[in-house]
Symmetry: C2
Subunit: 192 residues, 2 copies
DNA sequence: TGTATTATTGAGTATGCACTCAGTAATAGA
DNA sequence: TCTATTACTGAGTGCATACTCAATAATACA
Protein backbone atom coordinates (compact mmCIF):
# COMPACT_ATOMS: atom_id res chain seq x y z
CA UNK A 1 0.00 0.00 0.00
CA UNK A 2 1.42 3.39 -1.00
CA UNK A 3 -0.12 6.38 0.68
CA UNK A 4 -2.77 5.24 3.12
CA UNK A 5 -6.13 6.90 3.60
CA UNK A 6 -6.34 9.22 6.53
CA UNK A 7 -8.62 8.38 9.44
CA UNK A 8 -8.76 12.10 10.18
CA UNK A 9 -10.15 12.96 6.76
CA UNK A 10 -12.72 10.21 7.04
CA UNK A 11 -13.87 11.58 10.38
CA UNK A 12 -13.89 15.13 9.08
CA UNK A 13 -16.20 14.05 6.28
CA UNK A 14 -18.52 12.19 8.65
CA UNK A 15 -18.57 15.19 11.00
CA UNK A 16 -19.39 17.63 8.22
CA UNK A 17 -22.08 15.29 6.95
CA UNK A 18 -23.61 15.09 10.42
CA UNK A 19 -23.76 18.86 10.68
CA UNK A 20 -25.23 19.39 7.22
CA UNK A 21 -27.67 16.51 7.40
CA UNK A 22 -28.97 17.82 10.70
CA UNK A 23 -29.37 21.34 9.34
CA UNK A 24 -30.73 20.65 5.88
CA UNK A 25 -31.78 17.03 5.66
CA UNK A 26 -30.13 14.08 3.94
CA UNK A 27 -30.95 14.96 0.36
CA UNK A 28 -30.68 18.74 0.60
CA UNK A 29 -27.07 18.50 1.77
CA UNK A 30 -24.88 18.28 -1.37
CA UNK A 31 -21.61 16.37 -1.44
CA UNK A 32 -19.90 19.55 -2.65
CA UNK A 33 -20.84 21.33 0.56
CA UNK A 34 -19.98 18.36 2.75
CA UNK A 35 -16.50 18.07 1.30
CA UNK A 36 -15.96 21.82 1.52
CA UNK A 37 -16.87 21.85 5.21
CA UNK A 38 -14.67 18.83 5.75
CA UNK A 39 -11.76 20.68 4.17
CA UNK A 40 -11.19 18.25 1.30
CA UNK A 41 -11.90 18.27 -2.42
CA UNK A 42 -15.16 16.80 -3.58
CA UNK A 43 -13.34 13.97 -5.34
CA UNK A 44 -11.74 12.95 -2.06
CA UNK A 45 -15.12 12.32 -0.50
CA UNK A 46 -15.65 9.67 -3.17
CA UNK A 47 -12.40 7.86 -2.41
CA UNK A 48 -13.60 7.41 1.16
CA UNK A 49 -17.20 6.61 0.24
CA UNK A 50 -18.02 5.18 -3.17
CA UNK A 51 -21.42 6.89 -3.29
CA UNK A 52 -23.43 9.29 -1.19
CA UNK A 53 -25.58 6.37 -0.10
CA UNK A 54 -22.43 4.68 1.15
CA UNK A 55 -21.63 7.71 3.22
CA UNK A 56 -25.14 7.69 4.65
CA UNK A 57 -24.90 4.04 5.61
CA UNK A 58 -21.46 4.48 7.15
CA UNK A 59 -22.68 7.45 9.17
CA UNK A 60 -25.59 5.43 10.49
CA UNK A 61 -23.33 2.68 11.79
CA UNK A 62 -20.96 5.22 13.29
CA UNK A 63 -23.66 7.01 15.24
CA UNK A 64 -25.26 3.78 16.44
CA UNK A 65 -21.86 2.65 17.67
CA UNK A 66 -21.33 5.89 19.55
CA UNK A 67 -24.74 5.56 21.16
CA UNK A 68 -24.07 1.97 22.18
CA UNK A 69 -20.72 3.00 23.63
CA UNK A 70 -22.32 5.77 25.61
CA UNK A 71 -25.01 3.43 26.96
CA UNK A 72 -22.86 0.45 27.78
CA UNK A 73 -19.63 1.97 29.10
CA UNK A 74 -19.22 1.48 32.86
CA UNK A 75 -22.22 -0.85 32.66
CA UNK A 76 -22.75 -2.18 36.20
CA UNK A 77 -22.93 -5.87 35.32
CA UNK A 78 -23.01 -7.01 38.93
CA UNK A 79 -25.81 -4.78 40.14
CA UNK A 80 -29.50 -5.64 40.09
CA UNK A 81 -31.75 -5.25 37.05
CA UNK A 82 -33.24 -1.95 38.09
CA UNK A 83 -29.83 -0.37 38.57
CA UNK A 84 -28.60 -1.67 35.25
CA UNK A 85 -31.66 -0.47 33.41
CA UNK A 86 -31.42 2.89 35.09
CA UNK A 87 -27.81 3.12 33.98
CA UNK A 88 -28.75 2.51 30.38
CA UNK A 89 -31.68 4.88 30.64
CA UNK A 90 -29.61 7.75 32.03
CA UNK A 91 -26.79 7.27 29.56
CA UNK A 92 -29.19 7.23 26.63
CA UNK A 93 -30.99 10.35 27.79
CA UNK A 94 -27.73 12.18 28.45
CA UNK A 95 -26.32 11.19 25.08
CA UNK A 96 -29.39 12.52 23.31
CA UNK A 97 -29.23 15.84 25.12
CA UNK A 98 -25.50 16.19 24.54
CA UNK A 99 -25.65 15.19 20.88
CA UNK A 100 -28.75 16.76 19.36
CA UNK A 101 -27.33 16.77 15.82
CA UNK A 102 -26.40 13.12 15.81
CA UNK A 103 -29.81 12.32 17.23
CA UNK A 104 -31.60 14.35 14.61
CA UNK A 105 -29.59 12.69 11.85
CA UNK A 106 -30.30 9.28 13.34
CA UNK A 107 -34.02 9.97 13.22
CA UNK A 108 -33.72 10.83 9.54
CA UNK A 109 -31.53 7.84 8.78
CA UNK A 110 -33.91 5.40 10.41
CA UNK A 111 -36.69 6.29 7.98
CA UNK A 112 -34.41 6.72 4.98
CA UNK A 113 -34.75 4.53 1.91
CA UNK A 114 -31.00 4.77 1.43
CA UNK A 115 -30.38 2.61 4.49
CA UNK A 116 -29.70 -1.04 3.64
CA UNK A 117 -30.86 -3.99 5.67
CA UNK A 118 -27.21 -4.85 6.34
CA UNK A 119 -26.68 -1.46 7.93
CA UNK A 120 -29.76 -1.89 10.06
CA UNK A 121 -28.49 -5.22 11.31
CA UNK A 122 -25.01 -3.86 11.89
CA UNK A 123 -26.55 -0.96 13.76
CA UNK A 124 -28.34 -3.14 16.28
CA UNK A 125 -25.41 -5.50 16.82
CA UNK A 126 -23.75 -3.37 19.52
CA UNK A 127 -26.90 -3.63 21.62
CA UNK A 128 -26.96 -7.38 22.09
CA UNK A 129 -25.75 -7.23 25.69
CA UNK A 130 -28.67 -5.00 26.47
CA UNK A 131 -31.09 -7.43 24.82
CA UNK A 132 -29.65 -10.29 26.84
CA UNK A 133 -30.14 -8.39 30.07
CA UNK A 134 -33.82 -7.97 29.31
CA UNK A 135 -34.24 -11.61 28.42
CA UNK A 136 -32.64 -12.59 31.74
CA UNK A 137 -34.86 -10.22 33.64
CA UNK A 138 -37.95 -11.80 32.15
CA UNK A 139 -36.73 -15.30 32.99
CA UNK A 140 -35.94 -14.27 36.54
CA UNK A 141 -39.52 -13.00 36.81
CA UNK A 142 -38.44 -9.47 37.53
CA UNK A 143 -40.67 -8.30 34.71
CA UNK A 144 -44.21 -9.24 33.88
CA UNK A 145 -43.94 -12.35 31.78
CA UNK A 146 -46.68 -11.50 29.32
CA UNK A 147 -44.58 -8.86 27.60
CA UNK A 148 -42.46 -9.86 24.61
CA UNK A 149 -38.80 -8.92 24.80
CA UNK A 150 -38.99 -6.69 21.74
CA UNK A 151 -41.83 -4.68 23.20
CA UNK A 152 -39.73 -3.90 26.25
CA UNK A 153 -36.63 -2.81 24.37
CA UNK A 154 -38.63 -0.84 21.83
CA UNK A 155 -40.57 0.79 24.64
CA UNK A 156 -37.43 1.83 26.43
CA UNK A 157 -36.15 3.49 23.27
CA UNK A 158 -39.53 5.09 22.62
CA UNK A 159 -39.85 6.46 26.14
CA UNK A 160 -36.29 7.74 26.19
CA UNK A 161 -36.94 9.57 22.95
CA UNK A 162 -40.07 11.14 24.36
CA UNK A 163 -38.12 12.12 27.47
CA UNK A 164 -35.34 13.74 25.45
CA UNK A 165 -37.79 15.64 23.28
CA UNK A 166 -39.41 17.14 26.34
CA UNK A 167 -36.12 17.94 27.99
CA UNK A 168 -34.86 19.73 24.89
CA UNK A 169 -37.87 22.02 24.92
CA UNK A 170 -37.68 22.66 28.66
CA UNK A 171 -34.17 22.15 29.95
CA UNK A 172 -34.86 23.26 33.51
CA UNK A 173 -37.09 20.24 34.07
CA UNK A 174 -34.44 17.79 32.89
CA UNK A 175 -34.20 15.87 36.13
CA UNK A 176 -37.94 15.58 36.60
CA UNK A 177 -38.43 14.28 33.10
CA UNK A 178 -35.61 11.78 33.37
CA UNK A 179 -36.83 10.44 36.71
CA UNK A 180 -40.49 10.52 35.79
CA UNK A 181 -39.86 8.82 32.50
CA UNK A 182 -37.90 6.02 34.04
CA UNK A 183 -40.37 5.44 36.85
CA UNK A 184 -43.11 5.22 34.30
CA UNK A 185 -41.13 2.73 32.28
CA UNK A 186 -40.24 0.66 35.34
CA UNK A 187 -43.80 0.61 36.62
CA UNK A 188 -44.94 -0.51 33.22
CA UNK A 189 -42.70 -3.51 32.90
CA UNK A 190 -42.51 -4.89 36.42
CA UNK A 191 -45.05 -7.07 38.11
CA UNK A 192 -47.83 -5.41 40.05
CA UNK B 1 -65.16 31.34 -10.91
CA UNK B 2 -65.10 29.50 -14.27
CA UNK B 3 -64.22 25.83 -14.13
CA UNK B 4 -63.62 24.84 -10.55
CA UNK B 5 -60.81 22.61 -9.34
CA UNK B 6 -61.73 19.00 -8.82
CA UNK B 7 -61.65 17.52 -5.34
CA UNK B 8 -61.14 14.14 -6.99
CA UNK B 9 -57.97 15.22 -8.75
CA UNK B 10 -56.61 16.72 -5.59
CA UNK B 11 -57.20 13.47 -3.76
CA UNK B 12 -55.72 11.43 -6.59
CA UNK B 13 -52.55 13.49 -6.36
CA UNK B 14 -52.35 13.11 -2.59
CA UNK B 15 -52.94 9.36 -2.91
CA UNK B 16 -50.27 8.92 -5.55
CA UNK B 17 -47.87 10.99 -3.46
CA UNK B 18 -48.56 8.81 -0.44
CA UNK B 19 -47.78 5.66 -2.41
CA UNK B 20 -44.61 7.00 -3.98
CA UNK B 21 -43.32 8.70 -0.85
CA UNK B 22 -43.78 5.47 1.07
CA UNK B 23 -41.97 3.43 -1.58
CA UNK B 24 -39.13 5.78 -2.50
CA UNK B 25 -38.94 8.52 0.09
CA UNK B 26 -39.95 12.17 -0.12
CA UNK B 27 -37.14 13.44 -2.31
CA UNK B 28 -36.71 10.39 -4.52
CA UNK B 29 -40.32 10.57 -5.68
CA UNK B 30 -40.45 13.01 -8.62
CA UNK B 31 -43.47 15.19 -9.34
CA UNK B 32 -43.52 13.75 -12.87
CA UNK B 33 -44.15 10.27 -11.47
CA UNK B 34 -46.66 11.47 -8.90
CA UNK B 35 -48.75 13.23 -11.53
CA UNK B 36 -48.51 10.26 -13.87
CA UNK B 37 -49.79 7.88 -11.20
CA UNK B 38 -52.51 10.35 -10.32
CA UNK B 39 -53.63 10.38 -13.94
CA UNK B 40 -53.03 14.09 -14.53
CA UNK B 41 -50.43 16.15 -16.38
CA UNK B 42 -47.45 17.36 -14.41
CA UNK B 43 -48.57 20.96 -14.81
CA UNK B 44 -51.87 20.14 -13.15
CA UNK B 45 -50.10 19.09 -10.00
CA UNK B 46 -48.79 22.61 -9.74
CA UNK B 47 -52.21 24.20 -10.03
CA UNK B 48 -53.28 22.23 -6.96
CA UNK B 49 -50.02 22.71 -5.07
CA UNK B 50 -47.79 25.68 -5.81
CA UNK B 51 -44.61 23.76 -5.03
CA UNK B 52 -43.62 20.25 -4.07
CA UNK B 53 -43.06 21.49 -0.52
CA UNK B 54 -46.64 22.68 -0.52
CA UNK B 55 -47.80 19.23 -1.50
CA UNK B 56 -45.72 17.73 1.29
CA UNK B 57 -47.19 20.06 3.87
CA UNK B 58 -50.74 19.46 2.65
CA UNK B 59 -50.24 15.73 2.78
CA UNK B 60 -49.00 15.96 6.35
CA UNK B 61 -52.11 17.78 7.49
CA UNK B 62 -54.32 15.37 5.61
CA UNK B 63 -52.82 12.29 7.20
CA UNK B 64 -52.84 13.79 10.68
CA UNK B 65 -56.50 14.61 10.22
CA UNK B 66 -57.28 11.06 9.14
CA UNK B 67 -55.46 9.70 12.15
CA UNK B 68 -57.29 12.04 14.51
CA UNK B 69 -60.61 11.03 12.95
CA UNK B 70 -59.80 7.37 13.37
CA UNK B 71 -58.84 7.88 17.01
CA UNK B 72 -61.65 10.15 18.09
CA UNK B 73 -64.66 8.81 16.21
CA UNK B 74 -67.14 7.06 18.51
CA UNK B 75 -65.11 8.42 21.40
CA UNK B 76 -66.87 7.25 24.59
CA UNK B 77 -66.97 10.61 26.32
CA UNK B 78 -69.13 9.37 29.19
CA UNK B 79 -67.05 6.34 30.14
CA UNK B 80 -64.18 6.29 32.62
CA UNK B 81 -60.63 7.32 31.83
CA UNK B 82 -59.31 3.84 31.29
CA UNK B 83 -62.02 3.00 28.78
CA UNK B 84 -61.49 6.23 26.92
CA UNK B 85 -57.74 5.76 26.80
CA UNK B 86 -58.16 2.20 25.66
CA UNK B 87 -60.45 3.40 22.90
CA UNK B 88 -57.84 5.82 21.64
CA UNK B 89 -55.13 3.22 21.99
CA UNK B 90 -56.97 0.59 19.98
CA UNK B 91 -58.02 2.99 17.28
CA UNK B 92 -54.49 4.28 16.86
CA UNK B 93 -53.01 0.78 16.70
CA UNK B 94 -55.64 -0.37 14.22
CA UNK B 95 -55.16 2.68 12.04
CA UNK B 96 -51.42 2.05 11.88
CA UNK B 97 -51.86 -1.56 10.91
CA UNK B 98 -54.51 -0.76 8.32
CA UNK B 99 -52.58 2.16 6.82
CA UNK B 100 -48.91 1.22 6.71
CA UNK B 101 -48.13 3.58 3.82
CA UNK B 102 -49.63 6.62 5.46
CA UNK B 103 -47.83 5.74 8.63
CA UNK B 104 -44.51 5.37 6.86
CA UNK B 105 -44.97 8.68 5.11
CA UNK B 106 -45.93 10.34 8.37
CA UNK B 107 -42.69 9.13 9.94
CA UNK B 108 -40.75 10.69 7.09
CA UNK B 109 -42.74 13.91 7.18
CA UNK B 110 -42.19 14.39 10.88
CA UNK B 111 -38.42 14.59 10.44
CA UNK B 112 -38.57 16.47 7.16
CA UNK B 113 -37.07 19.93 6.79
CA UNK B 114 -39.82 20.75 4.31
CA UNK B 115 -42.44 20.77 7.05
CA UNK B 116 -43.29 24.26 8.31
CA UNK B 117 -44.06 25.15 11.89
CA UNK B 118 -47.56 26.14 10.80
CA UNK B 119 -48.15 22.64 9.48
CA UNK B 120 -46.90 21.11 12.68
CA UNK B 121 -49.29 23.24 14.68
CA UNK B 122 -52.16 22.50 12.32
CA UNK B 123 -51.31 18.81 12.58
CA UNK B 124 -51.67 18.69 16.35
CA UNK B 125 -54.82 20.78 16.44
CA UNK B 126 -57.23 17.85 15.92
CA UNK B 127 -55.84 16.18 19.03
CA UNK B 128 -56.82 18.82 21.55
CA UNK B 129 -59.72 16.83 22.95
CA UNK B 130 -57.32 14.02 23.69
CA UNK B 131 -54.93 16.40 25.46
CA UNK B 132 -57.79 17.74 27.56
CA UNK B 133 -58.76 14.24 28.64
CA UNK B 134 -55.26 13.63 29.95
CA UNK B 135 -55.17 16.92 31.79
CA UNK B 136 -58.48 16.04 33.46
CA UNK B 137 -57.25 12.61 34.41
CA UNK B 138 -54.23 14.11 36.15
CA UNK B 139 -56.39 16.60 38.03
CA UNK B 140 -58.75 13.85 39.11
CA UNK B 141 -55.74 11.96 40.48
CA UNK B 142 -56.30 8.99 38.24
CA UNK B 143 -52.71 9.30 37.11
CA UNK B 144 -49.58 9.78 39.11
CA UNK B 145 -49.27 13.51 39.55
CA UNK B 146 -45.52 13.74 39.10
CA UNK B 147 -45.77 13.13 35.37
CA UNK B 148 -46.05 16.12 33.03
CA UNK B 149 -48.94 16.03 30.58
CA UNK B 150 -46.65 16.07 27.56
CA UNK B 151 -44.75 13.04 28.78
CA UNK B 152 -47.96 11.06 28.98
CA UNK B 153 -49.23 11.95 25.52
CA UNK B 154 -45.82 11.53 23.95
CA UNK B 155 -45.45 8.19 25.71
CA UNK B 156 -48.76 6.95 24.42
CA UNK B 157 -47.73 7.79 20.87
CA UNK B 158 -44.32 6.24 21.37
CA UNK B 159 -45.70 3.03 22.84
CA UNK B 160 -48.36 2.72 20.18
CA UNK B 161 -45.69 3.07 17.52
CA UNK B 162 -43.60 0.37 19.15
CA UNK B 163 -46.68 -1.84 19.36
CA UNK B 164 -47.50 -1.34 15.68
CA UNK B 165 -43.92 -2.04 14.61
CA UNK B 166 -43.98 -5.35 16.41
CA UNK B 167 -47.40 -6.29 15.13
CA UNK B 168 -46.35 -5.59 11.56
CA UNK B 169 -43.46 -8.02 11.85
CA UNK B 170 -45.54 -10.67 13.59
CA UNK B 171 -49.19 -10.35 12.73
CA UNK B 172 -50.34 -13.46 14.57
CA UNK B 173 -49.46 -11.87 17.91
CA UNK B 174 -51.46 -8.73 17.19
CA UNK B 175 -53.82 -9.11 20.12
CA UNK B 176 -51.11 -9.92 22.62
CA UNK B 177 -49.06 -6.92 21.58
CA UNK B 178 -52.01 -4.57 21.67
CA UNK B 179 -53.11 -5.75 25.10
CA UNK B 180 -49.61 -5.98 26.52
CA UNK B 181 -48.66 -2.59 25.22
CA UNK B 182 -51.68 -0.94 26.72
CA UNK B 183 -51.34 -2.64 30.09
CA UNK B 184 -47.75 -1.52 30.20
CA UNK B 185 -48.78 2.03 29.39
CA UNK B 186 -51.58 2.01 31.94
CA UNK B 187 -49.41 0.56 34.68
CA UNK B 188 -46.84 3.23 33.93
CA UNK B 189 -49.08 6.22 34.30
CA UNK B 190 -51.46 5.22 37.10
CA UNK B 191 -50.77 5.41 40.79
CA UNK B 192 -49.23 2.38 42.45
C1' DT C 1 17.04 7.40 -3.57
C1' DG C 2 13.94 5.50 -6.98
C1' DT C 3 9.60 3.67 -8.15
C1' DA C 4 5.14 1.77 -7.98
C1' DT C 5 1.03 2.67 -5.99
C1' DT C 6 -2.54 5.21 -4.25
C1' DA C 7 -4.55 9.56 -2.45
C1' DT C 8 -5.86 14.29 -3.79
C1' DT C 9 -7.64 17.88 -6.60
C1' DG C 10 -11.34 20.48 -8.93
C1' DA C 11 -13.05 21.47 -13.35
C1' DG C 12 -16.08 19.04 -16.21
C1' DT C 13 -20.08 15.95 -17.43
C1' DA C 14 -24.37 13.85 -17.56
C1' DT C 15 -28.53 13.28 -15.48
C1' DG C 16 -32.63 14.20 -13.10
C1' DC C 17 -36.02 17.05 -11.66
C1' DA C 18 -38.94 21.14 -10.07
C1' DC C 19 -41.24 24.34 -12.30
C1' DT C 20 -42.95 27.26 -16.58
C1' DC C 21 -45.74 28.58 -20.34
C1' DA C 22 -48.17 28.92 -24.69
C1' DG C 23 -51.85 26.57 -26.57
C1' DT C 24 -56.28 24.26 -25.68
C1' DA C 25 -60.47 22.76 -23.34
C1' DA C 26 -63.99 23.14 -19.99
C1' DT C 27 -67.32 25.58 -17.21
C1' DA C 28 -69.97 29.35 -14.69
C1' DG C 29 -72.60 33.21 -15.32
C1' DA C 30 -74.85 36.62 -18.48
C1' DT D 1 -75.50 30.69 -26.88
C1' DC D 2 -71.65 33.68 -26.01
C1' DT D 3 -67.79 35.10 -23.27
C1' DA D 4 -64.62 35.61 -19.56
C1' DT D 5 -62.20 32.98 -16.61
C1' DT D 6 -59.78 29.27 -15.09
C1' DA D 7 -58.26 24.43 -15.38
C1' DC D 8 -55.48 21.25 -18.14
C1' DT D 9 -51.64 19.68 -21.02
C1' DG D 10 -46.82 18.24 -21.78
C1' DA D 11 -42.80 19.66 -24.17
C1' DG D 12 -39.29 22.64 -22.80
C1' DT D 13 -35.95 25.16 -19.59
C1' DG D 14 -32.67 26.05 -16.25
C1' DC D 15 -30.48 24.62 -12.37
C1' DA D 16 -28.65 21.62 -8.94
C1' DT D 17 -25.78 17.97 -7.96
C1' DA D 18 -23.74 13.11 -7.81
C1' DC D 19 -20.00 11.37 -9.79
C1' DT D 20 -15.69 11.14 -13.18
C1' DC D 21 -11.09 11.68 -14.68
C1' DA D 22 -6.65 13.43 -16.10
C1' DA D 23 -3.08 15.63 -13.85
C1' DT D 24 -0.44 15.94 -9.63
C1' DA D 25 1.30 14.91 -4.99
C1' DA D 26 2.41 11.98 -1.28
C1' DT D 27 3.99 7.77 0.77
C1' DA D 28 5.49 2.78 1.53
C1' DC D 29 8.77 -0.22 0.32
C1' DA D 30 12.98 -2.01 -2.18
Amino acid sequence: MARPKSEDKRNAILDAATRLFAERGLTAAPTSEISKQAGVAEGTLFTYFKTKDDLINALYREIKLELADAMMSDFPRKKNVRTRLRHVWDRYVNWGIANPKQRKVLAQLQVSEALTKESRDAGSAPFVEFQIMIRDAIEQRVFRNDLPVELISKSLAALVEATIDLTMSNRSEAKQYRDGGFQMFWAGITKA
